[in-house]
Amino acid sequence: MDEATERMGEQLRERIVQLFGRSLAIREVDAGSCNGCEVEVNALTNAVHDIERFGMHIVASPRHADMLLVTGAVTRNMEMPLIRTYRAVPPPKMVVAMGSCAASGGMFAPSYAVIGPVDSILPVDAYIPGCPPRPQAIIQGIMVALDRWEERSR
């Protein structure tokens, strides 16, 4: 990729991050998880952790979403639904793999029912380790995906 195209790509990403930093619609997708990560995502919208103060909200359809938050090791049954969900998100879009199952297949990678981690199916922008990750760790992971983590201490 030549330098001009790379610079354009950088500027595009900066612009997307600028927009997403003000208002981010997150669609959570369970690609075959144990639901531990879902419980922590539930906790994100309560009064204690409150991601709404960052302008992030959880939406009901991938068509409304800017970002897919994928949990679970991708099972064979969930491969096509996950791909169709990803295609349903209008660009620009981001994917964040949450939890050790989504990041690497976790403990279930050798299973006959599991295809693998999320990055074997979709391009992933950030990985959040944890089993399950704390709500604060999820907030950090989304901010890392948005390139906002480095500028937080201002």
Partner: protein, 106 residues
């Protein structure tokens, strides 16, 4: 009625101001494993006992793959001399390779 309203609005903000302020997890929280390999003889029991296969012995020392770690504490139980479970939870990364942490051999 007035007492109820006073109680409802008397609580104030319950939001934890993360990440504007640093957050200390509770005492029972299990975070990232921390290893001090001073005097480690590379017996490999930690890597053999890890249920998720996250630990492996590499040339530089001990490699921990945070992407597959389930934070169970088994490695710390097997080798309390060199491994302890810390409190670090801010572990997110953009790339898969950044999740592989290497503890240098002592």
């Amino acid at each position: 009625m007035r007492k109820l309203l006073r109680r409802m609005f008397g609580y104030g903000s319950r939001t934890v101001p993360y990440p504007t302020e640093a957050f200390t997890p509770p005492a029972a929280f299990i975070g990232r494993p921390e290893a001090d390999l001073d005097g480690c003889d590379r017996c490999g029991r930690c890597a053999a006992g890890c249920p998720a296969g996250s630990l492996s012995l590499v040339d530089e020392g001990l490699q921990l793959d945070l992407g597959s770690c389930i934070f169970c504490g088994e490695c710390a139980r097997i080798c309390p001399e060199h491994i302890a479970m810390g409190k670090d939870f801010e572990l997110a990364a953009r790339g898969r390779e950044e999740l592989k942490v290497v503890f240098a051999r002592g």
